[in-house]
Symmetry: C2
């Protein structure tokens, strides 16, 4: 029951990128579960990974390979996270890269491995081996939607976005896919995003562009506060558009980062819209904070409160729960009387309690919508933060309680 999300449309190929997706039999349901993203020689790559100390074997190997070479291919399997698998898991991830290198003709360290699915089980290497052999014959530039579907686990909809931007009179394309329906899928380990562009971008600058975009997109979403063992976001730039090289601050770079951020934001929001059991898409804005850190802390405290989340599920304009969450966000010298809280444009809290002009039916009207904005004015400074989240429903409990049964 994804909120305001439909099948991706109008996906644009990215010059220099070919994709293939097949069913290798890793998932039980015969759906595609093995994806190859092949990059033209000379492409460069930026990456950010999970900060969870318990990170999966493919994350460790991908980090290693990125230090050694610029990638020619990304191999992604769904249905098995290759996490909590010890030495065997590392060996399997390395072996997968070697198999891909053999069939496409490159070095093993030029392949990055990614896995998503059940934790604690070894990769079925025989299935991978025969699957990988079939991938090269399926490569095509128009397979972005197939790839988006091939990396899904319990996502209910594929997530993919395209956009274009002009660099010095050359139009370049940015297309990305993502998967994930909870910040962690414990058995299913979880968020992956792969974004490609045919722009020409200097490698260090590409990494900076990715950091700038991720900071205000993927790093601003939460479904349940749990972070994954397998999270990765990869940005590749093929340069195949022949555009002028972007290598630092300039108007073109600014535009490029803006469009990249927009692509990342739409993918990140798609994950929340398809969040486990989600019936609401909620934007939490905390503004006039003393610094960005406190704005984020307040926004996340609201976003993670089970009581706020169940009130959202119930369409209950329960201002006491929101105010209490602000109150426990541990801000120094917080004067609760200066805070104002809004549901969309309706002021629900001022002067430490219910706003004098507020009537319950005004809040009820806002809360009955599928998409709601909670805005907190701290009135302590100039900084702000935005976080996107979903509600806590019976279905969230059902999905996570019954996952392995």
């Amino acid at each position: 029951m994804a909120v305001g999300l439909s099948e991706p449309e109008n996906l644009l190929p990215v010059a220099g990128v070919e994709l293939a997706a097949i069913s290798a039999g890793i998932k039980a349901n015969q759906q595609d579960d093995l994806v190859l993203l092949k990059l033209e020689q000379g492409s460069c790559c930026a990456a950010v990974f999970t900060r969870n100390a318990f990170c999966a074997a493919p994350v460790i190997i991908a980090r290693e390979h990125l230090k050694l070479a610029s990638p020619r291919a990304l191999l992604i399997n769904s249905g098995n996270a290759n996490a909590g698998t010890g030495e065997q898991g590392l060996e399997d991830a390395r072996q997968s890269c070697a198999l891909v290198a053999e069939v496409i003709g490159c070095e093993p360290q030029e392949v990055l491995p990614f896995s998503t699915g059940v934790i604690g089980e070894n990769l079925p290497m025989q299935k991978l081996q025969s699957g990988i052999a079939r991938l090269p014959g399926k490569l095509g530039a128009d397979n972005w939607l197939l790839a988006a579907r091939g990396i899904m686990t319990t996502d209910t909809l594929a997530k993919a976005v395209s956009s274009t931007v002009t660099v010095d009179a050359t139009e370049v394309t940015i297309t990305g896919i993502a998967k994930g329906a909870g910040m962690i899928r414990p058995d299913m380990a979880t968020m992956l995003a792969f974004i490609s562009t045919d722009a020409t971008v200097e490698p260090d600058w590409l990494q900076q562009c990715l950091h700038a975009a991720v900071k205000i997109s993927f790093n601003c979403i939460t479904v349940d506060g749990d972070t994954s063992t397998n999270d990765a976001c990869i940005l590749t730039a093929t340069g195949a558009s022949g555009s002028r090289m972007l290598a630092g601050e300039c108007d073109d770079s600014k535009q490029f980062v803006q469009v990249l951020t927009d692509v990342c934001t739409r993918l990140a929001q798609a994950i929340v819209r398809d969040g486990e059991g989600a019936s609401k898409f909620v934007t939490i804005i905390v503004d006039s904070a003393a610094d960005e850190a406190e704005a984020r802390r307040v926004a996340y405290t609201i976003a993670h409160s089970p009581l706020v989340k169940t009130a959202l599920f119930a369409s209950d304009p329960n201002w006491g729960r929101i105010l209490a969450a602000v109150g426990r966000a541990a801000l120094d010298d917080l004067d609760i009387d200066t805070i104002r809280i809004f549901l969309d444009d309706v002021c629900i809290v001022s002067n430490g309690g219910r706003d004098a002009a507020y009537q319950e039916d005004m809040g009820q009207q806002v809360m009955s919508q599928d998409e709601i904005t909670i805005r907190v004015e701290l009135n302590r400074g100039e900084q702000q933060a935005t976080v996107w989240t979903s509600d806590l429903s019976y279905d969230y409990v059902k999905i996570n309680a019954e996952y392995r049964t």
Copy 2:
């Protein structure tokens, strides 16, 4: 469906303490909702309050009065939290104290007010006024169970505990009551505990004893991670046993604190056992930590993880979720390979993954019980922490989604 909790039994009166409970009509259901605890002259009092910046009017007034005088009476109403009520709320709390002072013959600042219930509505002062007038006629030393029931909101069972300890050949009694079923009851604002002893204790030392006991009892429980606007724990000592005065470290003090801690722990655990929608009572022990702070951080990260809590509800020995929670607790230089995790005595995780000797049915057997211990060995030092929590069930969502409907 409280877990392993039954009606309190064998409650002992505390010399110097009388209690009364009546229905003043604040709750809609005709149950008792107004409680008076009257203390003999010369009693002293220690208190700890919520750290939520959004604290209720009675908390503000109780703190004020404690600075001015030693209390002679505590007035507690359930059904209305007097929180988020601005100036009128402060005025109502002061007025309640004045009314009590009048009927029992003391100064208003010798009365402490406490409220628990719906947030954001003013106290029904007419009902309070006529109720308070009826309280003195109902006072009795044996009314601890009535008082425990009178402070309940959506608790399913009353929570009360008695114990005794010998101070220098004099037997002294400690009896306490508590209420609360979520760390916050947003509309219902939430945990209250009142403990009395007839021991003679020097006031500053009494406060230290309370801090020591609360630190490893009430401060170690969590149902949903939300803290309340009205939390308070009050310890009063009447001295009516005629025992030697406790005023600092000594063997008798040590024993007194030990028994006080035991009383607080049993009350705190009763709150978790009666937690919103609880079907499991879970003890989380993190040991061999570098310091206590990191042990607590890991324990709370596990206790608050919606994914661990839904796995507990499902009786699913999902070690990946527990390990992933440890991994995101942000410990410096955490080596995931040195960690061991146990369900009761069953080792489920070692060397960064599923323990070699572990079989699913061993974990399943532990998880099928009502009471479960999750123990994490960090192997980084000598410190430890214990936290008690409950699971995340359909009923948790139901209770909190439907509370105001």
